[in-house]
């Protein structure tokens, strides 16, 4: 039965088979395949989420809740740091996502080529993904220390001046965390890209070689378009991750100094910590709406591009 016969035969066709009858589809791809995962997801995620959305309209101390309508939302929007944290959220989300897409793709292309020490390089770029956010945050706090940190000692040795306060200067703290996030997350993006590039049938590369295409042409005309599913996965995952992210921010700057690197998720977390459970749930609803408003059209657009390909 095997696929090898089709492949080794002359007619390599990637076109899809003609639509089969409904009955045939039902037999081959039964809907109950959704059930095992679906039930777990529904019971332990959707049901609690629906519950929690009700509490967004209450003043909730965990011990008692009072229905207060939209007060939480009004209060959340009157938060003095909200505009700043909204801007920070967008900067953080788009910057980390963009850098991961571009750098991840570049790294993946290099690491898919037959260079020396490929295995080592693949491993090393992935190492940071293995460490927990707590470990990464603590480590970078030390490495980026304005006076004792390795980075600034190097800068001082070269330039003779004090280096910047990477995590303590309100103007660059957020950008430093973006850098750390990319450092930590790039291995994952690269991995997805490598898998995406590996999934491109070899025939394309062979044909290109026969035609004498340059490396750039191979990249531009084969890798870039055919790894599009990987690109869209990386974009969606890293953008959602970036817009929702706070664990790295929390373990490096805690949104500080003061409120300079606060994002919406860290404001929500602080309210949760303070015991303002209703308010923080309302913040979650707002974050959900903001992220959805960005991700939903984007994901539809990416899906439509994918079907065209």
């Amino acid at each position: 039965m095997s696929y090898t016969t089709i492949r080794s035969g002359e007619q390599v066709s990637l076109k899809r088979a003609p639509r089969a009858s409904a009955e045939h589809v039902d037999k081959t791809y039964p809907l109950w395949f959704h059930l095992p995962g679906g039930i777990i997801y529904l019971v332990l995620f959707i049901v609690p989420t629906v519950f929690s959305f009700y509490f967004a309209f209450t003043r909730w101390t965990l011990f008692k809740s009072t229905f207060i309508g939209f007060d939480n939302f009004v209060l959340f929007f009157s938060e003095p740091g909200l505009i700043g944290s909204l801007r920070n959220t967008l900067v953080y989300g788009f910057l980390t996502s963009g850098l991961k897409v571009v750098l991840g793709m570049m790294l993946a292309v290099v690491l898919s080529a037959p260079i020396i020490a490929r295995g080592y390089l693949r491993s090393v770029t992935f190492f940071p993904v293995l460490v927990s956010a707590v470990g990464v945050g603590l480590t970078f706090q030390v490495l980026l220390d304005p006076f004792n940190g390795v980075v600034n000692q190097l800068i001082t040795a070269i330039t003779g001046h004090d280096g910047p306060g990477w995590l303590t200067d309100p103007n660059i703290a957020l950008l430093s965390v973006v850098g750390i996030d990319v450092w930590k997350g790039i291995g994952l993006a690269t991995l997805i890209y490598i898998a995406g590039i590996a999934a491109i049938p070899n025939e394309y590369f062979e044909a290109a070689r026969v035609d004498g295409a340059s490396s750039w042409q191979v990249f531009r005309n084969i890798i870039l378009p055919l790894s599009f599913p990987a690109t869209s996965t990386v974009i969606i995952l890293s953008l959602i991750g970036g817009l929702r992210s706070f664990d790295l921010i929390w373990t490096t700057t805690q949104g500080g100094p003061g409120f300079a690197s606060d994002v919406i998720a860290s404001v929500i977390y602080k309210q949760y910590q303070a015991g303002f459970y209703g308010l923080s749930t309302a913040g979650n609803v707002i974050l959900f709406i903001v992220v959805t408003a960005i991700i939903y059209p984007l994901s539809r657009w990416l899906n439509s591009k994918e079907t065209v390909l």
Binding site: S2, Y3, T4, R59, T61, L62, F63, K64, T66, L75, P80, Q141, D145, P146, F147, N148, G165, L167, T168, D169, P170, Q254, G255, G256, P257, G258, F259, A260, K270, Q271, Y272, Q273, A274, G275, F276, G278, L279
Partner: protein, 446 residues
């Protein structure tokens, strides 16, 4: 293509099945404290105590538990730990609200306790005879709507300024009683090439001390301040005097350039190192760090002294104190377990239990249980602290006399201390923060 890859699936599946089977033999059996051999045999009731995992809490608490278990009371106590800080707060609240709390739990007294809705979640101890052993000042910090809820564990802590006695001796300085004297000292210390005031915003909580430890000065200026503050009286706000002074004092030292140059990134332990080494002279702090810095050098315990935060008037100079945390019994415990838990708390409220704690960890301040004494040879800062208590020159910190403490204070004091915001703007922003909390607590008049 071959099907040999299905072997991997089978492997994953069997690992999964094996994993689930493993849960049957509980991993807890590895721990030595799982051995439940109790003196009183089959009738023994076992209760657990949930406490934060800091050494300052677990070491003395474990010692008290061991001493209690050694008695023949028919009750066996075990210790469970949880994280500290706000993660710990959330754990306690989550477990109380889901009816899943241990039979005894350790938690802060004061405003943090008030946020637990004691009337609903905690068993009142007002009528228990052993409460007669508990200090009245502690009782007020665990009282809510006329009921008393907890027994103190550990010692009171002072908030003020730790200083390096050697530096003071070398420069011929004396302990300041007023803010003006404090600032004059600072000028001399700076001229000697030493950082006058250590700040460590790498641990943001340390930034609040100038504001919080100023409360004795606030309450001597207006004894009714805390009550007015809780009632939303416009005269008792941080944006106006006398409370504004705390923010201004932080701004004063920052603007005068008296801070260590790495104030923005240094951590608490680094600040203590500076103090012990004498590269920094003074560090606004809570005295519960005594054990930490004492371990940093052989002479540190005697080199570091303590004084209360100076105010405007030398005659009212005094200490702002923090009550110890308490042990509480949740209403979710069964009647039998509640009775067992009370037996344990009864033991905690005895001088015998204090002595056991003293043996486990050197105390950092006085106990809140009547008849408890401190041994000789304590670190110098504790002796300095004790003097304020002996003289009765003590006010409890605001969080023990009012349920209000805004969650963003430490962020705002970082901004003021880093000169990102002025004292006036910071204080105003903190008032907003407090207002939000008051509304969440559903207090009258907000």
């Amino acid at each position: 293509m071959s099907f040999r890859k299905q072997g991997r699936l089978a492997l994953i599946a069997s690992l999964g099945a094996g994993a689930l089977a493993l849960t049957a033999c509980t991993p807890g059996s590895l721990g030595s404290n799982a051995s439940s051999g109790s003196a009183s045999g089959a009738t023994a009731v076992t209760i657990t105590v949930l406490a934060d995992n800091s050494d300052q809490t677990t070491k003395p608490l474990q010692a008290v538990i061991d001493a209690f278990n050694a008695k023949d009371t028919g009750v066996t106590v075990k210790l469970e730990s949880r994280p500290q800080g706000t993660d710990g707060d959330n754990i306690v609240k989550t477990r109380l609200s889901t009816g899943d709390m241990d039979e005894v739990f350790q938690y802060n007294s004061g405003s943090l306790l008030a946020a637990l809705d004691p009337a609903k979640n905690i068993v009142p101890l007002t009528d228990e005879s052993f409460m007669a052993n508990v200090d009245d000042s502690f009782k007020t910090s665990v009282t809510s709507d006329g009921q008393i809820y907890g027994v103190p564990l550990g010692q009171a802590t002072g908030g003020g300024i730790l200083y390096n006695k050697k530096v003071f001796a070398k420069l011929g300085l004396s302990v300041p009683k007023t803010w003006a004297e404090f600032m004059a000292n600072n000028a001399k210390i700076k001229a000697a090439g030493i950082d006058p005031v250590i700040q460590t915003y790498g641990d943001t909580w340390t930034s609040q001390l100038f504001v919080l430890a100023d409360f004795h000065n606030v309450s001597t200026a207006d004894p009714e301040w805390a009550t007015k503050y809780t009632a939303n009286d416009p005269s008792a706000k941080y944006a106006v005097d006398p409370a504004l002074k705390g923010f201004q004092r932080l701004e004063d030292v920052a603007k005068a350039g008296y801070l260590n140059k790495d104030f923005a990134s240094a951590k608490n332990s680094q600040g203590l190192q500076k103090l012990v080494k004498g590269t920094g002279a003074q560090y606004p702090m809570l005295t519960f760090v005594v054990g930490t810095y004492s371990a940093m050098s052989d002479t540190a315990a005697q080199d570091i002294g303590f004084f209360a935060q100076p105010g405007d008037d030398a005659s009212t100079n005094g200490l702002t104190s923090w009550s110890p945390g308490g042990l509480y019994i949740p209403t979710s415990a069964s009647a039998e377990k509640q009775a067992a838990a009370k037996k344990f708390l009864e033991f905690v409220a005895t001088p015998e239990a204090c002595d056991v704690q003293t043996k486990a960890v050197a105390p950092s301040g006085p106990y809140a249980i009547k008849g408890c004494t401190l041994p000789d040879g304590l670190p110098a800062a504790v002796t300095d602290l004790q003097k304020y208590f002996d003289d009765g020159n003590v006010s409890p910190a605001l969080e023990f006399v009012s349920p209000l403490k805004g969650p963003n204070l430490e962020k705002i004091t970082v901004e003021v201390g880093s000169k990102i915001t002025s004292a006036a703007d910071g204080a105003k922003r903190y008032d907003e923060d407090v207002k939000k909390q008051a509304q969440q607590l559903g207090l009258e008049g907000w």
